[in-house]
Protein backbone atom coordinates (compact mmCIF):
# COMPACT_ATOMS: atom_id res chain seq x y z
CA UNK A 1 0.00 0.00 0.00
CA UNK A 2 2.71 2.46 1.06
CA UNK A 3 4.71 1.55 -2.00
CA UNK A 4 1.84 2.40 -4.34
CA UNK A 5 1.27 5.62 -2.49
CA UNK A 6 4.96 6.41 -2.87
CA UNK A 7 4.84 5.81 -6.62
CA UNK A 8 1.70 7.89 -6.96
CA UNK A 9 3.15 10.82 -5.02
CA UNK A 10 6.44 10.65 -6.91
CA UNK A 11 4.62 10.60 -10.23
CA UNK A 12 2.54 13.57 -9.16
CA UNK A 13 5.58 15.50 -7.94
CA UNK A 14 7.60 14.92 -11.10
CA UNK A 15 4.64 15.63 -13.39
CA UNK A 16 3.70 18.88 -11.68
CA UNK A 17 7.34 19.96 -11.48
CA UNK A 18 7.57 19.42 -15.23
CA UNK A 19 4.42 21.45 -15.73
CA UNK A 20 5.92 24.30 -13.69
CA UNK A 21 8.70 24.57 -16.24
CA UNK A 22 6.65 23.88 -19.35
CA UNK A 23 3.50 25.93 -18.85
CA UNK A 24 3.46 29.31 -20.61
CA UNK A 25 1.39 31.23 -18.11
CA UNK A 26 3.37 32.11 -14.95
CA UNK A 27 0.28 31.89 -12.74
CA UNK A 28 -0.27 28.31 -13.90
CA UNK A 29 3.36 27.59 -13.08
CA UNK A 30 2.83 28.80 -9.54
CA UNK A 31 -0.29 26.68 -9.15
CA UNK A 32 1.59 23.61 -10.35
CA UNK A 33 4.34 24.46 -7.90
CA UNK A 34 1.79 24.30 -5.08
CA UNK A 35 0.85 20.83 -6.30
CA UNK A 36 4.53 19.83 -6.20
CA UNK A 37 4.78 21.05 -2.63
CA UNK A 38 1.73 19.05 -1.59
CA UNK A 39 3.14 15.92 -3.20
CA UNK A 40 6.42 16.42 -1.34
CA UNK A 41 4.51 16.99 1.90
CA UNK A 42 2.89 13.59 1.23
CA UNK A 43 6.39 12.11 1.01
CA UNK A 44 7.22 13.58 4.40
CA UNK A 45 4.15 11.90 5.89
CA UNK A 46 5.28 8.60 4.39
CA UNK A 47 8.63 9.09 6.13
CA UNK A 48 6.86 9.61 9.49
CA UNK A 49 7.70 13.31 9.51
CA UNK A 50 4.22 14.65 10.17
CA UNK A 51 5.34 17.89 11.75
CA UNK A 52 7.67 18.64 8.85
CA UNK A 53 4.83 17.95 6.41
CA UNK A 54 2.53 20.39 8.20
CA UNK A 55 5.20 23.08 8.35
CA UNK A 56 6.05 22.50 4.73
CA UNK A 57 2.45 23.04 3.65
CA UNK A 58 1.96 26.08 5.85
CA UNK A 59 5.21 27.81 4.95
CA UNK A 60 5.72 26.90 1.32
CA UNK A 61 2.25 26.30 -0.05
CA UNK A 62 0.86 29.05 2.14
CA UNK A 63 3.20 31.95 2.74
CA UNK A 64 5.82 31.66 0.05
CA UNK A 65 3.36 30.93 -2.73
CA UNK A 66 1.35 34.03 -1.89
CA UNK A 67 4.54 36.05 -2.18
CA UNK A 68 5.28 34.45 -5.54
CA UNK A 69 1.80 35.27 -6.82
CA UNK A 70 2.07 38.87 -5.66
CA UNK A 71 5.39 39.33 -7.39
CA UNK A 72 4.09 37.82 -10.61
CA UNK A 73 0.99 39.99 -10.54
CA UNK A 74 2.99 43.12 -9.81
CA UNK A 75 5.50 42.43 -12.56
CA UNK A 76 2.65 41.49 -14.92
CA UNK A 77 4.61 38.70 -16.57
CA UNK A 78 3.28 36.86 -19.57
CA UNK A 79 4.52 34.88 -22.56
CA UNK A 80 5.35 38.02 -24.58
CA UNK A 81 7.68 39.55 -22.04
CA UNK A 82 9.53 36.28 -21.53
CA UNK A 83 13.12 36.63 -22.77
CA UNK A 84 13.81 34.34 -25.70
CA UNK A 85 17.05 32.42 -25.55
CA UNK A 86 19.16 31.77 -28.63
CA UNK A 87 19.11 28.45 -30.45
CA UNK A 88 22.63 27.39 -29.51
CA UNK A 89 22.06 28.24 -25.89
CA UNK A 90 19.03 25.95 -25.87
CA UNK A 91 21.01 23.12 -27.45
CA UNK A 92 23.85 23.61 -24.97
CA UNK A 93 21.44 23.71 -22.04
CA UNK A 94 19.72 20.52 -23.21
CA UNK A 95 23.02 18.70 -23.61
CA UNK A 96 24.31 19.87 -20.24
CA UNK A 97 21.07 18.96 -18.48
CA UNK A 98 21.02 15.56 -20.16
CA UNK A 99 24.59 14.85 -19.11
CA UNK A 100 23.83 15.88 -15.54
CA UNK A 101 20.85 13.51 -15.51
CA UNK A 102 22.95 10.62 -16.84
CA UNK A 103 25.61 11.28 -14.20
CA UNK A 104 23.04 11.47 -11.42
CA UNK A 105 21.26 8.29 -12.51
CA UNK A 106 24.55 6.44 -12.90
CA UNK A 107 25.87 7.57 -9.53
CA UNK A 108 22.63 6.76 -7.73
CA UNK A 109 22.40 3.31 -9.34
CA UNK A 110 25.91 2.40 -8.33
CA UNK A 111 25.31 3.68 -4.81
CA UNK A 112 21.97 1.96 -4.26
CA UNK A 113 23.50 -1.06 -2.52
CA UNK A 114 25.96 0.80 -0.36
CA UNK A 115 23.64 3.34 1.23
CA UNK A 116 23.70 3.12 5.01
CA UNK A 117 20.49 1.77 6.46
CA UNK A 118 19.39 3.33 9.73
CA UNK A 119 17.04 1.75 12.19
CA UNK A 120 13.45 2.67 11.50
CA UNK A 121 11.77 4.65 14.23
CA UNK A 122 8.17 5.61 13.64
CA UNK A 123 8.20 8.24 16.38
CA UNK A 124 11.08 10.16 14.84
CA UNK A 125 9.04 12.90 13.22
CA UNK A 126 6.90 13.72 16.24
CA UNK A 127 7.19 17.29 17.40
CA UNK A 128 8.40 16.24 20.83
CA UNK A 129 11.33 14.25 19.47
CA UNK A 130 12.09 16.92 16.92
CA UNK A 131 12.25 19.56 19.64
CA UNK A 132 14.55 17.41 21.74
CA UNK A 133 16.96 16.94 18.85
CA UNK A 134 16.79 20.59 17.92
CA UNK A 135 17.59 21.86 21.41
CA UNK A 136 20.07 19.14 22.35
CA UNK A 137 22.16 18.00 19.41
CA UNK A 138 21.60 20.91 17.09
CA UNK A 139 21.49 23.72 19.60
CA UNK A 140 24.42 25.67 18.22
CA UNK A 141 23.16 25.88 14.59
CA UNK A 142 19.72 26.73 15.94
CA UNK A 143 21.07 29.66 17.96
CA UNK A 144 23.30 30.88 15.14
CA UNK A 145 20.37 30.94 12.76
CA UNK A 146 18.65 33.36 15.14
CA UNK A 147 21.60 35.73 14.71
CA UNK A 148 21.31 35.24 10.97
CA UNK A 149 17.64 36.26 11.06
CA UNK A 150 18.42 39.25 13.23
CA UNK A 151 21.03 40.67 10.88
CA UNK A 152 18.99 39.81 7.80
CA UNK A 153 16.22 41.89 9.36
CA UNK A 154 18.63 44.73 10.11
CA UNK A 155 19.78 44.68 6.49
CA UNK A 156 16.26 44.55 5.09
CA UNK A 157 15.00 47.41 7.28
CA UNK A 158 18.02 49.50 6.37
CA UNK A 159 17.52 48.91 2.65
CA UNK A 160 13.78 49.36 2.82
CA UNK A 161 13.95 52.78 4.47
CA UNK A 162 13.06 55.39 1.92
CA UNK A 163 15.13 58.51 2.18
CA UNK A 164 12.72 61.42 2.66
CA UNK A 165 14.22 64.68 1.56
Amino acid sequence: MTLYLFYFLSFLAVLSALMVVVSKNPVHSVLYLIMTFFAIAGHYVLLNAQFLAAVHVIVYAGAIMVLFLYVIMMLNLNADTEPQKGKWLRVAATVAGGILMVVLVGALRSAADTLPVTAHDNQIGMIKNLGKVLYKDFMLPFEISSILFLVAMVGAVMLGKKEIK
Binding site: V103, L104, G106, A107, L108, S110, A111, T114, L115, P116, T118, D137, F138, M139, L140, P141, I144, S145, I147, L148, L150, V151, A152, V154, G155, A156, V157, M158, L159, K161, E163
Partner: protein, 469 residues
Protein backbone atom coordinates in the same frame (compact mmCIF):
# COMPACT_ATOMS: atom_id res chain seq x y z
CA UNK B 1 31.39 26.22 31.79
CA UNK B 2 34.66 28.17 31.73
CA UNK B 3 35.80 25.86 28.96
CA UNK B 4 32.85 27.13 26.96
CA UNK B 5 33.85 30.75 27.52
CA UNK B 6 37.44 30.20 26.48
CA UNK B 7 36.72 28.12 23.41
CA UNK B 8 34.02 30.41 22.08
CA UNK B 9 35.95 33.54 23.04
CA UNK B 10 36.32 35.05 19.56
CA UNK B 11 32.65 34.58 18.74
CA UNK B 12 31.47 35.82 22.14
CA UNK B 13 33.45 39.05 21.84
CA UNK B 14 31.90 39.71 18.46
CA UNK B 15 28.47 38.89 19.87
CA UNK B 16 29.08 41.39 22.64
CA UNK B 17 29.99 44.11 20.14
CA UNK B 18 26.85 43.25 18.20
CA UNK B 19 24.71 43.65 21.33
CA UNK B 20 26.41 46.96 22.19
CA UNK B 21 25.60 48.25 18.72
CA UNK B 22 21.98 47.10 18.96
CA UNK B 23 21.46 48.76 22.33
CA UNK B 24 23.08 51.96 21.14
CA UNK B 25 20.86 52.02 18.07
CA UNK B 26 17.73 51.55 20.15
CA UNK B 27 18.76 53.68 23.10
CA UNK B 28 20.18 57.02 22.10
CA UNK B 29 20.35 59.08 18.97
CA UNK B 30 22.97 61.46 20.22
CA UNK B 31 26.02 59.53 19.05
CA UNK B 32 27.63 61.18 16.05
CA UNK B 33 29.20 59.24 13.24
CA UNK B 34 32.74 60.23 14.04
CA UNK B 35 32.49 59.18 17.70
CA UNK B 36 30.88 55.90 16.63
CA UNK B 37 33.76 55.33 14.20
CA UNK B 38 36.35 55.89 16.92
CA UNK B 39 34.44 53.66 19.33
CA UNK B 40 34.20 50.85 16.80
CA UNK B 41 37.84 51.18 15.78
CA UNK B 42 38.72 50.82 19.44
CA UNK B 43 36.44 47.83 19.96
CA UNK B 44 37.74 46.07 16.86
CA UNK B 45 41.30 46.68 18.00
CA UNK B 46 40.46 45.21 21.41
CA UNK B 47 38.90 42.27 19.58
CA UNK B 48 42.10 41.74 17.61
CA UNK B 49 44.38 42.01 20.64
CA UNK B 50 42.18 39.87 22.86
CA UNK B 51 42.26 37.17 20.21
CA UNK B 52 45.83 36.31 21.13
CA UNK B 53 45.28 35.57 24.83
CA UNK B 54 43.67 32.80 26.85
CA UNK B 55 43.12 30.43 23.99
CA UNK B 56 42.38 26.77 24.43
CA UNK B 57 41.99 23.87 22.08
CA UNK B 58 38.98 21.65 22.22
CA UNK B 59 35.61 20.61 20.97
CA UNK B 60 32.16 21.80 21.98
CA UNK B 61 28.54 20.83 21.29
CA UNK B 62 29.33 17.26 20.38
CA UNK B 63 31.88 18.08 17.71
CA UNK B 64 29.92 20.88 16.10
CA UNK B 65 32.41 23.48 17.20
CA UNK B 66 36.15 23.02 17.40
CA UNK B 67 39.04 25.26 18.16
CA UNK B 68 42.74 24.82 17.67
CA UNK B 69 45.74 27.12 17.68
CA UNK B 70 45.72 27.15 13.88
CA UNK B 71 42.09 28.29 13.86
CA UNK B 72 42.88 30.93 16.48
CA UNK B 73 45.65 32.25 14.26
CA UNK B 74 43.34 32.37 11.24
CA UNK B 75 40.65 34.19 13.22
CA UNK B 76 43.16 36.76 14.44
CA UNK B 77 44.31 37.37 10.88
CA UNK B 78 40.72 38.05 9.85
CA UNK B 79 40.16 40.33 12.87
CA UNK B 80 43.24 42.31 11.93
CA UNK B 81 42.01 42.72 8.35
CA UNK B 82 38.60 43.89 9.51
CA UNK B 83 40.16 46.44 11.83
CA UNK B 84 42.33 47.83 9.03
CA UNK B 85 39.34 48.08 6.69
CA UNK B 86 37.31 49.97 9.30
CA UNK B 87 40.21 52.35 9.88
CA UNK B 88 40.78 53.14 6.26
CA UNK B 89 37.19 53.60 5.20
CA UNK B 90 36.32 56.19 7.84
CA UNK B 91 36.31 58.98 5.22
CA UNK B 92 33.51 57.19 3.38
CA UNK B 93 31.63 56.23 6.54
CA UNK B 94 31.58 59.71 8.07
CA UNK B 95 28.72 60.93 5.92
CA UNK B 96 26.66 57.77 5.90
CA UNK B 97 23.26 57.76 7.55
CA UNK B 98 23.11 54.12 8.57
CA UNK B 99 26.49 53.59 10.14
CA UNK B 100 25.43 51.39 13.11
CA UNK B 101 23.73 49.02 10.65
CA UNK B 102 26.88 48.86 8.57
CA UNK B 103 28.94 47.83 11.58
CA UNK B 104 26.29 45.34 12.66
CA UNK B 105 26.30 43.65 9.26
CA UNK B 106 30.08 43.63 9.13
CA UNK B 107 30.51 42.17 12.62
CA UNK B 108 27.93 39.48 11.93
CA UNK B 109 29.66 38.40 8.73
CA UNK B 110 32.92 38.17 10.62
CA UNK B 111 31.16 36.07 13.24
CA UNK B 112 29.76 33.83 10.51
CA UNK B 113 33.26 33.34 9.16
CA UNK B 114 34.53 32.38 12.61
CA UNK B 115 31.80 29.79 13.01
CA UNK B 116 32.49 28.54 9.51
CA UNK B 117 36.19 28.16 10.30
CA UNK B 118 35.48 26.32 13.53
CA UNK B 119 32.79 24.04 12.16
CA UNK B 120 33.35 20.33 12.44
CA UNK B 121 30.07 19.67 10.78
CA UNK B 122 28.56 20.46 7.40
CA UNK B 123 25.38 21.92 8.89
CA UNK B 124 27.35 24.32 11.04
CA UNK B 125 29.55 25.12 8.06
CA UNK B 126 26.52 25.96 5.95
CA UNK B 127 24.96 28.24 8.55
CA UNK B 128 28.28 30.00 9.07
CA UNK B 129 28.58 30.45 5.34
CA UNK B 130 25.11 31.97 5.07
CA UNK B 131 25.76 34.23 8.03
CA UNK B 132 28.85 35.47 6.23
CA UNK B 133 27.16 35.99 2.85
CA UNK B 134 23.62 37.32 3.30
CA UNK B 135 24.62 40.42 5.31
CA UNK B 136 27.42 41.00 2.80
CA UNK B 137 24.84 41.40 0.05
CA UNK B 138 23.13 44.09 2.10
CA UNK B 139 26.52 45.73 2.62
CA UNK B 140 27.07 45.82 -1.15
CA UNK B 141 24.00 48.04 -1.38
CA UNK B 142 25.28 50.60 1.07
CA UNK B 143 25.67 53.40 -1.45
CA UNK B 144 21.91 53.76 -1.29
CA UNK B 145 21.65 56.46 -3.93
CA UNK B 146 23.75 54.69 -6.54
CA UNK B 147 22.02 52.34 -8.97
CA UNK B 148 25.01 50.12 -9.62
CA UNK B 149 25.41 49.53 -5.91
CA UNK B 150 21.92 47.96 -5.88
CA UNK B 151 22.84 46.03 -8.99
CA UNK B 152 25.91 44.68 -7.22
CA UNK B 153 23.81 43.60 -4.24
CA UNK B 154 21.28 41.92 -6.49
CA UNK B 155 23.97 40.03 -8.41
CA UNK B 156 25.65 39.05 -5.19
CA UNK B 157 22.50 37.68 -3.54
CA UNK B 158 21.38 35.87 -6.70
CA UNK B 159 24.69 34.20 -7.43
CA UNK B 160 25.28 33.31 -3.81
CA UNK B 161 21.77 31.85 -3.52
CA UNK B 162 22.43 29.78 -6.62
CA UNK B 163 25.76 28.54 -5.34
CA UNK B 164 24.21 27.79 -1.95
CA UNK B 165 21.61 25.70 -3.74
CA UNK B 166 24.28 23.60 -5.41
CA UNK B 167 26.21 23.36 -2.15
CA UNK B 168 23.10 22.21 -0.29
CA UNK B 169 22.40 19.57 -2.92
CA UNK B 170 25.94 18.33 -2.40
CA UNK B 171 25.53 18.36 1.37
CA UNK B 172 22.29 16.40 1.18
CA UNK B 173 23.89 13.79 -1.09
CA UNK B 174 26.77 13.66 1.39
CA UNK B 175 24.32 13.10 4.24
CA UNK B 176 22.56 10.43 2.27
CA UNK B 177 25.80 8.58 1.66
CA UNK B 178 27.42 8.81 5.07
CA UNK B 179 24.41 9.18 7.34
CA UNK B 180 26.07 12.03 9.22
CA UNK B 181 26.83 15.71 8.84
CA UNK B 182 30.11 15.58 10.70
CA UNK B 183 33.40 15.82 8.85
CA UNK B 184 35.29 13.17 10.71
CA UNK B 185 34.74 10.92 13.65
CA UNK B 186 34.49 7.16 14.00
CA UNK B 187 31.65 6.46 11.59
CA UNK B 188 33.01 8.76 8.91
CA UNK B 189 33.75 6.97 5.68
CA UNK B 190 34.37 8.90 2.55
CA UNK B 191 35.99 6.46 0.18
CA UNK B 192 35.14 7.84 -3.24
CA UNK B 193 32.19 5.92 -4.61
CA UNK B 194 30.64 7.70 -7.64
CA UNK B 195 27.84 9.33 -5.64
CA UNK B 196 30.29 10.56 -3.02
CA UNK B 197 32.44 12.07 -5.74
CA UNK B 198 29.36 13.77 -7.16
CA UNK B 199 28.51 15.15 -3.71
CA UNK B 200 32.09 16.33 -3.40
CA UNK B 201 31.94 18.07 -6.79
CA UNK B 202 28.80 19.95 -5.74
CA UNK B 203 30.29 21.02 -2.41
CA UNK B 204 33.43 21.98 -4.30
CA UNK B 205 31.45 24.21 -6.69
CA UNK B 206 29.90 25.95 -3.71
CA UNK B 207 33.41 26.76 -2.51
CA UNK B 208 34.52 27.75 -6.00
CA UNK B 209 31.68 30.27 -6.29
CA UNK B 210 32.71 32.00 -3.10
CA UNK B 211 36.39 31.92 -4.04
CA UNK B 212 35.54 33.10 -7.59
CA UNK B 213 37.51 30.34 -9.25
CA UNK B 214 37.16 30.74 -12.98
CA UNK B 215 34.11 29.02 -14.35
CA UNK B 216 32.29 30.44 -11.32
CA UNK B 217 33.78 33.94 -11.36
CA UNK B 218 31.22 35.86 -13.42
CA UNK B 219 29.70 37.74 -10.50
CA UNK B 220 33.00 39.00 -9.13
CA UNK B 221 33.87 41.95 -11.32
CA UNK B 222 30.39 43.50 -11.35
CA UNK B 223 29.91 43.13 -7.60
CA UNK B 224 33.36 44.54 -6.86
CA UNK B 225 32.79 47.48 -9.16
CA UNK B 226 29.35 48.43 -7.85
CA UNK B 227 29.96 48.08 -4.12
CA UNK B 228 31.41 50.82 -1.93
CA UNK B 229 35.21 50.51 -1.71
CA UNK B 230 35.10 49.41 1.93
CA UNK B 231 32.82 46.51 1.02
CA UNK B 232 34.88 45.63 -2.03
CA UNK B 233 38.01 45.36 0.05
CA UNK B 234 36.12 43.36 2.67
CA UNK B 235 34.83 40.99 -0.02
CA UNK B 236 38.14 40.53 -1.74
CA UNK B 237 40.27 40.13 1.36
CA UNK B 238 38.36 38.97 4.43
CA UNK B 239 35.58 36.99 2.78
CA UNK B 240 37.93 35.35 0.32
CA UNK B 241 40.58 34.75 2.95
CA UNK B 242 38.17 32.94 5.24
CA UNK B 243 36.98 30.79 2.34
CA UNK B 244 40.57 29.84 1.51
CA UNK B 245 41.18 28.82 5.12
CA UNK B 246 38.07 26.65 5.25
CA UNK B 247 38.64 25.24 1.78
CA UNK B 248 42.20 24.17 2.52
CA UNK B 249 41.33 22.54 5.83
CA UNK B 250 38.27 20.74 4.42
CA UNK B 251 40.28 19.39 1.51
CA UNK B 252 42.99 18.04 3.77
CA UNK B 253 40.74 16.57 6.45
CA UNK B 254 37.28 15.62 5.24
CA UNK B 255 38.13 14.90 1.64
CA UNK B 256 41.57 13.44 2.22
CA UNK B 257 40.26 10.07 1.12
CA UNK B 258 39.69 11.22 -2.44
CA UNK B 259 42.78 13.39 -2.79
CA UNK B 260 43.67 11.74 -6.08
CA UNK B 261 40.30 12.86 -7.48
CA UNK B 262 40.47 16.47 -6.39
CA UNK B 263 44.12 16.95 -7.28
CA UNK B 264 43.39 16.82 -11.02
CA UNK B 265 40.38 19.10 -10.69
CA UNK B 266 42.38 21.59 -8.68
CA UNK B 267 45.20 21.65 -11.25
CA UNK B 268 42.83 22.33 -14.15
CA UNK B 269 40.90 24.99 -12.23
CA UNK B 270 44.04 26.78 -11.08
CA UNK B 271 45.38 26.87 -14.65
CA UNK B 272 42.15 28.29 -16.03
CA UNK B 273 41.77 30.73 -13.12
CA UNK B 274 45.25 32.17 -13.47
CA UNK B 275 45.07 32.55 -17.23
CA UNK B 276 41.57 34.03 -17.44
CA UNK B 277 42.07 36.31 -14.43
CA UNK B 278 45.31 37.69 -15.83
CA UNK B 279 44.09 38.14 -19.38
CA UNK B 280 41.00 40.01 -18.27
CA UNK B 281 42.95 42.15 -15.81
CA UNK B 282 45.09 43.38 -18.72
CA UNK B 283 42.29 45.41 -20.21
CA UNK B 284 40.44 46.85 -17.21
CA UNK B 285 40.22 50.57 -16.81
CA UNK B 286 38.37 50.81 -13.51
CA UNK B 287 40.61 50.33 -10.48
CA UNK B 288 38.10 48.17 -8.62
CA UNK B 289 37.44 45.93 -11.63
CA UNK B 290 41.16 45.70 -12.16
CA UNK B 291 41.73 44.55 -8.59
CA UNK B 292 38.80 42.12 -8.93
CA UNK B 293 40.46 40.33 -11.82
CA UNK B 294 43.86 40.50 -10.17
CA UNK B 295 42.32 38.85 -7.10
CA UNK B 296 40.87 36.10 -9.33
CA UNK B 297 44.37 35.48 -10.66
CA UNK B 298 45.73 35.37 -7.10
CA UNK B 299 43.21 32.65 -6.24
CA UNK B 300 44.71 30.62 -9.07
CA UNK B 301 48.11 30.74 -7.34
CA UNK B 302 46.52 29.82 -4.00
CA UNK B 303 44.97 26.73 -5.60
CA UNK B 304 48.46 25.64 -6.70
CA UNK B 305 49.59 25.83 -3.08
CA UNK B 306 46.57 23.87 -1.88
CA UNK B 307 47.20 21.18 -4.49
CA UNK B 308 50.47 20.41 -2.67
CA UNK B 309 50.80 18.17 0.35
CA UNK B 310 48.75 18.97 3.43
CA UNK B 311 51.12 20.71 5.84
CA UNK B 312 53.06 22.90 3.43
CA UNK B 313 49.93 23.57 1.36
CA UNK B 314 47.99 24.73 4.40
CA UNK B 315 50.83 26.82 5.79
CA UNK B 316 51.72 28.44 2.48
CA UNK B 317 48.11 29.40 1.71
CA UNK B 318 47.62 30.91 5.18
CA UNK B 319 50.92 32.77 4.87
CA UNK B 320 49.93 34.02 1.44
CA UNK B 321 46.54 35.23 2.67
CA UNK B 322 48.23 37.14 5.48
CA UNK B 323 50.48 38.89 2.95
CA UNK B 324 47.59 39.34 0.55
CA UNK B 325 45.59 41.09 3.28
CA UNK B 326 48.35 43.65 3.79
CA UNK B 327 49.10 44.23 0.11
CA UNK B 328 45.53 44.29 -1.13
CA UNK B 329 44.38 46.50 1.74
CA UNK B 330 47.27 48.85 1.01
CA UNK B 331 46.05 49.24 -2.56
CA UNK B 332 42.41 49.45 -1.50
CA UNK B 333 43.25 51.95 1.22
CA UNK B 334 44.65 54.35 -1.35
CA UNK B 335 41.74 53.78 -3.73
CA UNK B 336 39.26 54.20 -0.89
CA UNK B 337 40.78 57.52 0.22
CA UNK B 338 40.81 58.91 -3.31
CA UNK B 339 37.32 57.63 -4.07
CA UNK B 340 35.90 59.13 -0.88
CA UNK B 341 37.46 62.54 -1.51
CA UNK B 342 37.12 62.88 -5.28
CA UNK B 343 34.78 60.09 -6.42
CA UNK B 344 37.19 59.07 -9.21
CA UNK B 345 38.07 55.42 -9.74
CA UNK B 346 39.39 54.91 -13.26
CA UNK B 347 43.03 54.23 -14.12
CA UNK B 348 43.20 57.38 -16.26
CA UNK B 349 42.39 59.49 -13.20
CA UNK B 350 45.47 58.10 -11.48
CA UNK B 351 47.79 59.49 -14.16
CA UNK B 352 50.29 61.91 -12.73
CA UNK B 353 49.23 61.19 -9.19
CA UNK B 354 52.83 61.27 -7.97
CA UNK B 355 52.99 65.03 -8.51
CA UNK B 356 50.15 65.75 -6.10
CA UNK B 357 50.13 62.77 -3.71
CA UNK B 358 53.67 61.42 -3.39
CA UNK B 359 53.10 59.42 -0.19
CA UNK B 360 49.94 57.71 -1.43
CA UNK B 361 51.70 56.93 -4.70
CA UNK B 362 54.50 55.17 -2.87
CA UNK B 363 52.06 53.14 -0.77
CA UNK B 364 50.13 52.15 -3.89
CA UNK B 365 53.35 51.21 -5.69
CA UNK B 366 54.59 49.12 -2.78
CA UNK B 367 51.27 47.28 -2.53
CA UNK B 368 51.15 46.59 -6.25
CA UNK B 369 54.77 45.37 -6.20
CA UNK B 370 53.81 43.04 -3.39
CA UNK B 371 50.76 41.79 -5.29
CA UNK B 372 52.94 41.22 -8.34
CA UNK B 373 55.53 39.38 -6.26
CA UNK B 374 58.64 41.48 -6.77
CA UNK B 375 61.45 40.29 -4.45
CA UNK B 376 61.99 42.78 -1.63
CA UNK B 377 58.27 42.81 -0.80
CA UNK B 378 56.44 40.08 1.06
CA UNK B 379 54.39 39.06 -1.96
CA UNK B 380 57.45 37.41 -3.49
CA UNK B 381 57.91 35.12 -0.49
CA UNK B 382 54.21 34.29 -0.40
CA UNK B 383 54.18 33.21 -4.01
CA UNK B 384 57.47 31.39 -3.65
CA UNK B 385 56.11 29.27 -0.80
CA UNK B 386 52.89 28.59 -2.71
CA UNK B 387 54.77 27.37 -5.76
CA UNK B 388 57.19 25.36 -3.64
CA UNK B 389 54.27 23.64 -1.95
CA UNK B 390 52.70 22.93 -5.34
CA UNK B 391 55.98 21.71 -6.84
CA UNK B 392 56.23 19.01 -4.20
CA UNK B 393 53.80 16.97 -6.28
CA UNK B 394 56.21 17.12 -9.23
CA UNK B 395 53.82 18.78 -11.66
CA UNK B 396 56.30 21.15 -13.28
CA UNK B 397 54.00 22.03 -16.16
CA UNK B 398 51.67 23.75 -13.70
CA UNK B 399 54.54 25.61 -12.04
CA UNK B 400 55.88 26.81 -15.40
CA UNK B 401 52.50 28.14 -16.45
CA UNK B 402 52.18 29.87 -13.07
CA UNK B 403 55.56 31.52 -13.51
CA UNK B 404 54.59 32.71 -17.00
CA UNK B 405 51.37 34.11 -15.57
CA UNK B 406 53.29 36.07 -13.00
CA UNK B 407 55.17 37.74 -15.84
CA UNK B 408 51.86 38.69 -17.48
CA UNK B 409 50.61 40.04 -14.17
CA UNK B 410 53.77 42.12 -13.82
CA UNK B 411 52.75 43.95 -17.00
CA UNK B 412 49.41 45.14 -15.71
CA UNK B 413 50.61 46.02 -12.23
CA UNK B 414 53.42 48.06 -13.78
CA UNK B 415 50.92 49.73 -16.09
CA UNK B 416 49.27 51.28 -13.04
CA UNK B 417 52.60 52.26 -11.55
CA UNK B 418 53.65 53.87 -14.83
CA UNK B 419 50.40 55.83 -14.92
CA UNK B 420 50.96 57.03 -11.37
CA UNK B 421 54.62 57.97 -11.62
CA UNK B 422 55.41 58.77 -15.26
CA UNK B 423 52.34 59.82 -17.20
CA UNK B 424 51.43 63.47 -17.51
CA UNK B 425 47.94 64.70 -16.82
CA UNK B 426 46.56 68.24 -16.74
CA UNK B 427 43.51 67.16 -14.77
CA UNK B 428 45.40 65.19 -12.13
CA UNK B 429 43.98 64.28 -8.75
CA UNK B 430 43.90 66.96 -6.07
CA UNK B 431 46.09 66.49 -3.04
CA UNK B 432 44.24 64.15 -0.68
CA UNK B 433 44.78 64.35 3.06
CA UNK B 434 43.70 61.32 5.05
CA UNK B 435 42.70 61.48 8.70
CA UNK B 436 44.57 59.75 11.48
CA UNK B 437 42.74 56.42 11.05
CA UNK B 438 43.41 55.98 7.38
CA UNK B 439 47.04 56.96 7.82
CA UNK B 440 47.40 54.42 10.60
CA UNK B 441 45.82 51.77 8.35
CA UNK B 442 48.21 52.54 5.51
CA UNK B 443 51.18 52.48 7.87
CA UNK B 444 50.00 49.08 9.15
CA UNK B 445 49.82 47.79 5.59
CA UNK B 446 53.27 49.09 4.63
CA UNK B 447 54.84 47.72 7.78
CA UNK B 448 53.02 44.43 7.20
CA UNK B 449 54.26 44.17 3.63
CA UNK B 450 57.83 44.71 4.76
CA UNK B 451 57.77 42.71 8.00
CA UNK B 452 55.93 39.58 6.84
CA UNK B 453 58.47 39.14 4.07
CA UNK B 454 61.60 39.53 6.17
CA UNK B 455 60.42 37.91 9.40
CA UNK B 456 61.58 34.45 8.42
CA UNK B 457 60.15 32.81 11.51
CA UNK B 458 56.57 33.59 10.56
CA UNK B 459 56.25 30.89 7.93
CA UNK B 460 57.83 28.33 10.26
CA UNK B 461 55.42 29.39 13.00
CA UNK B 462 52.39 28.82 10.72
CA UNK B 463 53.91 25.55 9.54
CA UNK B 464 54.27 24.40 13.14
CA UNK B 465 50.60 25.24 13.75
CA UNK B 466 49.58 23.22 10.69
CA UNK B 467 51.20 20.04 12.02
CA UNK B 468 48.83 17.21 12.61
CA UNK B 469 46.51 18.09 9.79
Amino acid sequence: MTEFLFLLKHELILGLILVILLIMKIGSKSMTNSSLISLMNGLLFINFVAGWFLNREGVLFGGMFQNSSLLVFEKNVLSLGTWIICLQSSAWMKNHKHLPEFYMLMISTLMGMFFMLSSGNLLMFYIGLELSTIPLAAMCNFDLEKANSSEAAMKMIMSSAFSSGILLFGISLFYGMTGTFSLGGPSYNFDGSPLQVLAFIMIFSGFAFKLSVVPFHLWTADVYEGSPVAVTSYLSVISKGSMVFVFASVMYTAFRGIASVWYDGLVVLSLVTMIVGNLFALRQNNMKRFLAFSSIAQVGYILIGISGSSESGMASSIYFILIYIFSNLGAFGVISLISAHTGRESVDDYKGMYKTNPMLSWVLALSLFSLAGIPPTAGFFGKMFLLTAGAAKGNYFLITIAALNMIISLYYYLRIIRAVFMDKNENSLPSVQGDFGSRLALICCVVGILITGFAGGLYEYILSLSHGL
